[in-house]
Structure formats: structure tokens, C-alpha cells
Symmetry: C2
Subunit: 569 residues, 2 copies
């Protein structure tokens, strides 16, 4: 559009010649500068609470439960305690609910309760690289803040750190202007528990069952956390218990140091400034994973710029740091260790799916660990496939006969009908994700997989059409969410690739199941045709050969046997 | 599924009887608590920089330009200066670009430069209710932080607040661990400008043209800001100038007080605590808009709970505040004032569309202001409709003849082909939105409008199919974005409704244009049929009546004239 641009340019010159109409000055720079103020992070998130998942009364209740349950599970696992949780929802007014979440975790020393529940951006998980559900130090404080904003009521926390310790009850709010906890009362109380934490928050909320409900979130949590026993009391209902499948905790995940390839230049400069190492070689070996003496020497040699193994880290100038960064990017360094990630494992995924979903066939695949932006991660997938309300067929191993299976009763709220898109169960570090499916890398990975080659229908750019639940779990030391409300995974290329590979593994097994089902179906149809005629053949033979009824029945039975054994599956 | 639940319950009882396998305690509560740390907001957003729009090198460059341009425009308008901006992008290395944005704004006193560019969550726009592009006090500091993270280089700011003031150059970085500016140097320099601000940030980036490019963002900015002259130099290209359409600034927007209906209970309690008013009546009248003595008295009377007009605000207990809040919700209070919102206006929307988009017809509609969550807002819509590369028809007013229009050349990068979905131009407080279209209320409003009734094709749940650009602008004192990167508008019911009403207004005008076009087309087809035969009729008449060639030509001409005048449009 060069012609057009020239035209504008002339216009502009013309307009800049006749000076812009002198407008009355509204404010001076000093007046404007005087209005600049700090914004506390609590104020920011109060005004922008939809960013944290507290937009509607319906979603807010789910988000609050989720944050509390995530924290409890993290705490139990970190302390090595097999978790036993209770979630109770009570309706207190037309639009108000009280959420009570109690765990048997290690408890929190009462001097720390204030900051953990009453300060945004405070926590133990942000600064370390290890797999956990929470990672930001925002969630549960934000839930308390939302309760306080909508009901004016403080939250109540009870905690006990051991058999011989006091159970302490603290009632508190958050001072949003300063982002600090305000303790209203502290009391030692009786609590018939050895250790654990209980949190109560009352908030404006709405409760509803269905696809993205709290019930569904808890059910999915039970699937992905087979070591958890969870007691859940929905508003005005009886307690439901999801019992654990195993008492074995997920393996303890190790905290790792950053991998050199994932460190940006600015971060490298900050690390050089902050390190306590007194030589560049020491710095590289101590602050990163996977850097031994040889790799460190190679990097320093490749960097040049006057850097030596003995260069004093805090004195390295920006240009030299830049060269060091380039050399690190070029260096061959092995992938980060993967013992920092705990997969659920194929066996437990299948167990979990079986427990909560009735289907025809269950498949799972756990991929080896991989790396994005220097962060180790791992993808697992699972499939529960079956025709809801339909009747499956199977081959009896002994007789070779095709028999009808017991009615396949697929739990209606998880598996869809045969002509509906597959349903997704998305998990990040064992936490179910319920909103923003279409923005999630998991959704993209499933759409990007060719399900037709496994015998399913798949409209272009869509999910496969099948009575099927697809389970995908990403475990990582740092899950890249697309928002603070942690609802969708960002589509890093490496993550997408691994999702597809895991799905392909499951797909192949599913494909052979579907092909076999189709083969059995064809065979069954053929045979039932023939079977229909066998009695008539019997009668004809009886007439022609003058057989007795017993002889006739023996003949037809033998014919049927021969027929059933004639083909193998 | 009660049967199932019972089953689990039994399992649970069984499993709780045999105590969970004693797992070795991994960490104690004290060990875990000792690891709790504060997280600075800069650290948080460095690690989560994708939340602010700094995820890919491509998007980061756009986000940085956008933040700088938004700030410049806000500053100019607040100071009453007709804005003249320059945006320069220079490639400095294979994957590095320097962004330079300069304005003729009021400048920034040099004592304030540090905090404005070097501290996240610091600004003048967060705490007040008035229409501006920026609202969070994050954007430009985050751009500097991203530059520093990816290149290690500081940002450079030049500012001058008046003719007789010094131009000051400050070189600075952000200390992310403390979220504070670090000044590297401060110098008084020569600058041939009366007043203004210039910012330079170098960053890892990628530059590309296309639908969501910087070029497109700036072009759209010019459409929505007809009072702006913008000089833009893309990497390695000539300067392009978007000249202003008008020297009249948007009307000065007034800062308003919150509307009582939009204030949550927690906020009300905080306001009661912070107010300097010494009576409840005074508090209601002074801290809110639209509350006069009568309304205040009515609210207090309805609240009951021992509250009187003279109750001392800071001594009102939570229960009484709760009653007050309920009474406020029930009270009849007029809508908030709307002089706090500056629409672009139908005339300037059409001018803007015409300047940047060649189309057949231009339509615009500005709705009256409305309210969501107590915040005034206003929706405007515009349409540019035309067949790209096609040939339009129009009726010549004098002769009544249908003639072909000059080739309708629709700028390829804005209007799509006739069989493509309409393209959207989304704006919030005059800022173009380029990402996350499908998550945006504007997209939902367009999909939710019945375009078939205006003569367009529209697949179910999709955008209309037409060679058309749809422009939608939301102006508000607080735009509810779905993320800090400000890419999509949250779908508040009131906002969706207004979007649809604005589109309907445009749609009706478009519909009558399309119907007229279709009528002309039909008429044109009929006539061209008849016209084809007129010469043959002439020849036949000549033979039958023995006319001369002149008589024959006169007859056919007359016939054609009669034909063209026979129908009116």
C-alpha cells in the first residue's frame, strides 16, 4: 500500500505545518506525577478477582475448594502422610455457603498461619523447582479474601502440629491495602486429632451439580490421587466417601536446581550477582543441575571474553555474561534429572478410571520425562472406552462362543453418548482442570491426533466422536498455566509433542480393541445367520434320514460346535 | 449412583480400620514452615511472564509497543495535548530488537521516572474510576523487565516536562527480588523537544507482518484515535505516517466515585473504616456517586439495625454493615453519570474506517452508556462492508441508469473474501485487542447476533460469512479483561447485551443496504437481458418500417431511456 502511505505522509506534513489547535492544558506533569501510587497485590487481585477464578459465585466456590484441597494434599505428601481429607459445604443463607476443608496433614505452626492464609504471594513452592499442586502462594489467601469481600466475615483456621502440641484456632482477615494478615483472635482449643489443619471460609456462592461442579472436581481428584481418602458432604446431603486404592504415597519428589538451557540471560546475570560461589567454575557446578567439572570447563572455554575458571562471579560484566549465556546455550548438557517428577503410573491410572467410570476397555500410557524451557515434565494418558447403555460382545475363551457381555453401564456424567465428542479429564500435578478446555494444550493435543487411524470418527479440527473418556496428566516442577486461575496449560511445543505421543500409544491399543470388536461383530452377525438355519437343517435331516429327536438334537449341537470352533479370534 | 457410594463407604470404613501403612515422615511442620517466603510481584510476573503477554518473542514485541503507546496516549490526553507519537523498531541482532517510542506528552518529573518504569503495580490509574487505556500499573515496567531478562540490558528513558526544563536521560533496570527501580545513570541532555517522553527497550523478539502484527495494531490504533498522528518505522523500512483526522481531543473524562450498587460488602466495610466522614449520612453522600440527602436517608431507614443518619461510620459493626449493604442493593439509585466516558462517536468511527479500509458501505452506531458491577461503560460498533476485488453496482441518481462502480478494492489485510468469516476489530478504551478473540465478549456478542435477518450467511455458533469488517469499541472507567495481558473482555451479561444492541443497530442499516444491492442486481440482470434484445428490435423495426439508420438509433436510444426510467429504486 505504498500509494496510500505517501498520501498520509503528505497529510501529515500538512497537518504538522498548521500546528495542532492549541487545546487548554488540562494537567501538568507534576500534577499527574503526584497521583502515582503503589498498588498492593491484594488490591490488584481484589479488583481483578476473575483472574484468580473468583468471577462468578458458582466458580468461586469451586476455586476455593480446589485451593484448599490442593494445599492439604501437598502438605500431606511433603510430610509423608497418607492423606485423609474432609470437604463440607454448608448453605448459610440464600446466596452464601461455608466451605470447611480439614486434613490429617502435618499442621502449620501457629506463628505461620497468618502469612500462609492472610498474605498473597507468600509460600514455599514458588522459589523451588519440585512438583507440587500449588506453586504461586496466592490461592488460599485469595479464597479468604473473596469470602471477606462478599460476606465481610473473617476466615477461621485450626491447626495442630503433633500429638503433644496444642490445637490453635485463629480467626483472621486480610488487610488488602497492605497485603498483610489481621489476626482477630487466637485460642487454644480441644481437637480430637493428632495433627492436621482445618480451614473455614464463608462466601457468596452458588452450588450446582454437573460437568464442572465441585462434585466432579472431587471425583476426578480421587481418580488422580489413588492414595487419597476423601469424605465429601455436599450442601444438605449425606456424606460420600471416596476411599483410597493404595496406601503407597507418590514417590517423594526431589527439588532440583535449574537446568542451564532453561535460564534466560537476565536470570543468569542475577544468579551471578547473588551466588556465594567464589569462582565461575564453582558457580556453574553448584547453581545448576547436570554441570560437572568437564562441562563447566568447556562452557568457560567456549565463552571466551576473558572469562576463566577462576573469574569471580559477582564481577563478571554484562558483555561477558552474554558470552557465557551463548556458550551455555551451545554446550551439550544432559537433560535434567527426572526423579523430581512423580507420575501416577499406568496401573494406578487404570485402577482410578475403573473405580469411577464403567467402560468396556481401559488403557493407559506413561511417557518418559522430557524438558521444556529447562523444566522437566512428563505426560501420561488414559482412555476409558465403552458404549453407554449398549451391549458389548466378547469371545468366551473356552468354548470359542461369542457371548453378550453384562450391560455396559457407563456412568452418565463422565462418558458421553456414542455420537458425542469424547470427554476430557485434564490434570496438572494431579489436580483436575475444569475450565478453559479449548485454551488448553491437552485439548489441542487431542484434536491434533489422528483418531481416524484408530477406527474412530473425527470431524476436522475437533475431538473424536466416541463414547470415551480421555485422561491426560502433566506432571512438572513448574506447570505453565495460561492464567493464575490455573485452568489451562500453555501450548509449549515440547509439551504438545509429548501429549500426542502419549495419546498415540493409547490410540494404538484402542485401535486394536476397536478392530477386534468390529471383527467379533461381523463374525457374530454371520453366525447368528447360520445359527438361525441350523434347527431347520436338523428338521430336514431328521425327515430325510429318519432320525430320532435325540439324534437330531445331537446333530444340530455338533453343527453349532463345529461352527463356533471353526474361526479363531 | 447411591449403590456405588455405599460401596465406597464400606471400602472406606474397611480401609480406615486397617490404619494407613506407616510411611516414614518426610518433613515436619516446622521444617516446612521455615521454607515459606515472600514472593515479590516482579519475581512472580518474571516467572509467569506469559500472563502479561510476554510469552513468545513475536508477541512480546507487540506487547511492549502496545504498553508504551497506550501510556503515551493516556498522558497526552490527560495533559490536554494533541498526541504526536513516533514508534521505531530496530533490529540489533538476529533475535533482538530495540523499541523506541517517543511522544509529545507532558513528560515525567525525573524523580518519578524510576517508579513508573521500574516498579510493577505502581501507577495513577488503578485507584481512580475514569476512562484510560492503562489501568494496572504493570505494563511498561513489565516490558522493561522482559528486555532486561532476555538481553541483560537496562532501559533508557528521556523526559522533559516543559520548554524551560531540562531534558533528563535515565538508564535503569528493575531489581526483581525487591520490585524496585535501580538507576544506573542520570544525565541532563540536549533534546530538541518542548516536552515529551522517550523510552528505549532492547529485547529478544521477532518481527513479522500479518493479522496480529505491530503494523496492524498501529493501523487499528489510528482508526480508533483519529486525533493521533503516528510515525512508524518498521525494522529496515521507511517511515510510514498515519496522520490525524481531527485536532479535537476526546472530551476530558471525569473521575467518578463508585456507584453504590457496584460495591461489595467487604469493600463497603473497608470504606466505612477508611472514611473521613463523621456521619453515616455524610459518608453515603460523599463517598458514592448518585447519593443525595434523600436517597441516603432512605437507605439508612431501610437498613434498620440501630443505624441512624448520625451513626459514626468507623464504629459500625459488621452485622450493621451487612444490613446497610442489603439496603443499598434494594434502594432505587439513578445510574452512574456518563460524562466519565468518552466515546469515539459515529462520525469519527466512519472516518477512521474509511481512512484505513476500502469498502462499499460504512455504518456506525454509538449506544448510550450503561452499567455493569457499578461501572459505567458504553459500546460502539461499526461496519465496513464491501466485496473485495469484486465489482459493485449503483444507480446513477440523474439518469436512473445502473452503472458499475469503480473497482471495490478492499485492503486485503483487513477485509476477508466473500466466503470468509467477517473480520473483527476489537477495541477497549481505544486500544486494539489482537489476541484471544474467541474468549472475548465482543466475539460472543457477534456470534450471538442473528446476521441472517440482515441478509448474510451465518453458520450456527459462528461469525457471519461476508466480506466485512466489524468494529466494536468498549469504553469504560474499568474494563474487565480476562487476563493481565488485556487481550479479551470478560462476558458480563450487561456488556454482552449492549454489544448485541449496537450490532443490531448497524445490522439493520447493513440489511437495507444489502437488500437494495440485491434489488439492483436483480434489476440489472433483467435489464441487461432486455438491453441485449433492443438492438435486434431496432433492426427489425428498421426493416418493417423502412427507417433510416438515424431513426433506428434514435428509436433504440429512446427505448433504452424508457427502460431505465421505468423503475425507481
Amino acid at each position: 500500500m505504498p500509494a496510500k502511505d505517501t498520501l498520509f505522509e503528505e497529510d501529515a506534513i500538512a497537518s504538522s505545518k498548521k500546528k495542532p489547535a492549541a487545546t487548554a492544558r488540562r494537567k501538568t506533569a507534576d500534577q499527574m506525577a503526584a497521583k502515582q501510587r503503589d498498588i498492593s497485590v491484594s488490591e490488584f487481585f481484589t479488583k481483578n478477582r476473575h483472574l484468580l477464578g473468583f468471577d462468578s459465585p458458582l466458580k468461586s466456590l469451586l476455586t476455593a475448594v480446589k485451593e484448599a484441597v490442593d494445599n492439604s494434599l501437598d502438605a500431606c505428601e511433603e510430610a509423608g502422610i497418607v492423606p485423609e481429607l474432609s470437604v463440607i459445604l454448608e448453605q448459610t443463607a440464600e446466596k452464601r455457603f461455608k466451605m470447611i476443608v480439614e486434613d490429617n496433614g502435618p499442621g502449620i505452626p501457629d506463628t505461620h498461619i497468618g502469612k500462609i492464609f492472610g498474605k498473597l504471594l507468600h509460600g514455599s513452592k514458588f522459589h523451588k523447582l519440585s512438583q507440587s499442586r500449588g506453586q504461586q502462594g496466592i490461592g488460599i489467601s485469595a479464597a479468604g479474601m473473596y469470602g471477606q469481600l462478599t460476606t465481610g466475615k473473617p476466615m477461621r483456621v485450626i491447626s495442630k502440629t503433633g500429638k503433644r502440641k496444642d490445637a490453635v484456632e485463629i480467626v483472621m482477615t486480610i488487610d488488602t491495602a497492605s497485603n498483610k494478615p489481621e489476626q482477630h483472635s487466637r485460642e487454644v482449643i480441644e481437637w480430637d486429632k493428632d495433627h492436621g489443619t482445618r480451614i473455614e471460609i464463608e462466601m457468596e456462592a452458588r452450588y450446582q451439580k454437573g460437568m464442572r461442579s465441585i462434585d466432579m472436581y472431587l471425583k476426578q481428584t480421587a481418580i488422580a490421587n489413588p492414595h487419597l481418602t476423601l469424605r465429601y458432604t455436599a450442601p444438605g446431603e449425606e456424606e460420600v466417601v471416596y476411599a483410597r486404592n493404595t496406601t503407597v504415597l507418590p514417590p517423594e519428589t526431589v527439588e532440583i536446581k535449574p537446568h542451564p538451557h532453561g535460564v534466560e540471560l537476565g536470570r543468569l546475570i542475577a544468579m551471578l550477582k547473588d551466588t556465594s560461589s567464589r569462582s565461575l567454575q564453582g558457580f556453574l557446578q553448584e547453581e545448576f543441575c547436570r554441570v560437572g567439572p568437564k562441562v563447566a570447563k568447556n562452557i568457560i572455554a567456549a565463552a571466551g571474553g576473558g572469562l576463566t575458571e577462576k573469574s569471580y562471579p559477582t564481577r563478571i560484566a554484562r558483555d561477558a555474561a552474554n558470552k557465557l549465556h551463548d556458550a551455555i546455550q551451545e554446550a551439550k548438557i544432559s537433560s535434567p534429572p527426572t526423579n523430581c517428577i512423580a507420575p501416577i503410573g499406568e496401573e494406578l491410572i487404570i485402577k482410578g478410571l475403573k473405580k469411577e467410570i464403567d467402560a468396556d476397555v481401559y488403557i493407559a500410557a506413561t511417557r518418559p520425562a522430557s524438558v521444556y524451557r529447562g523444566n522437566p515434565f512428563l505426560i501420561e494418558a488414559g482412555i476409558a472406552y465403552g458404549k453407554p447403555g449398549g451391549v458389548g460382545l466378547e469371545v468366551d475363551e473356552e468354548s470359542g462362543r461369542i457371548k453378550k457381555k453384562a450391560k455396559v453401564d457407563v456412568t452418565e456424567d463422565l462418558v458421553g453418548a456414542a455420537d458425542e465428542p469424547a470427554r476430557l479429564l485434564r490434570f496438572a500435578n494431579r489436580v483436575p482442570l475444569q475450565y478453559q478446555q479449548s485454551a488448553c494444550a491437552i485439548n489441542k493435543g487431542i484434536i491434533g491426533t489422528n483418531w481416524k487411524s484408530y477406527g474412530l470418527t473425527q470431524p476436522r479440527g475437533s475431538l473424536p466422536i466416541a463414547p470415551m473418556v480421555i485422561f491426560v496428566h502433566i506432571a512438572s516442577v513448574w506447570v505453565p498455566f495460561t492464567s493464575e486461575s490455573k485452568e489451562a496449560i500453555a501450548s509449549y511445543e515440547e509439551i504438545l509433542k509429548e501429549i500426542k505421543l502419549a495419546l498415540r500409544e493409547c490410540g494404538r491399543k484402542l485401535g486394536s480393541h476397536i478392530r477386534k470388536q468390529k471383527r467379533i461383530k461381523r463374525e457374530h452377525d454371520k453366525r447368528s445367520h447360520i445359527e438361525k438355519y441350523i434347527p431347520h437343517i436338523g428338521i430336514a435331516l431328521q425327515e430325510i434320514l429318519g432320525m430320532s429327536d435325540t439324534e437330531r438334537d445331537f446333530t444340530t449341537d455338533t453343527l453349532e460346535d463345529v461352527l463356533h470352533k471353526s474361526r479363531k479370534f
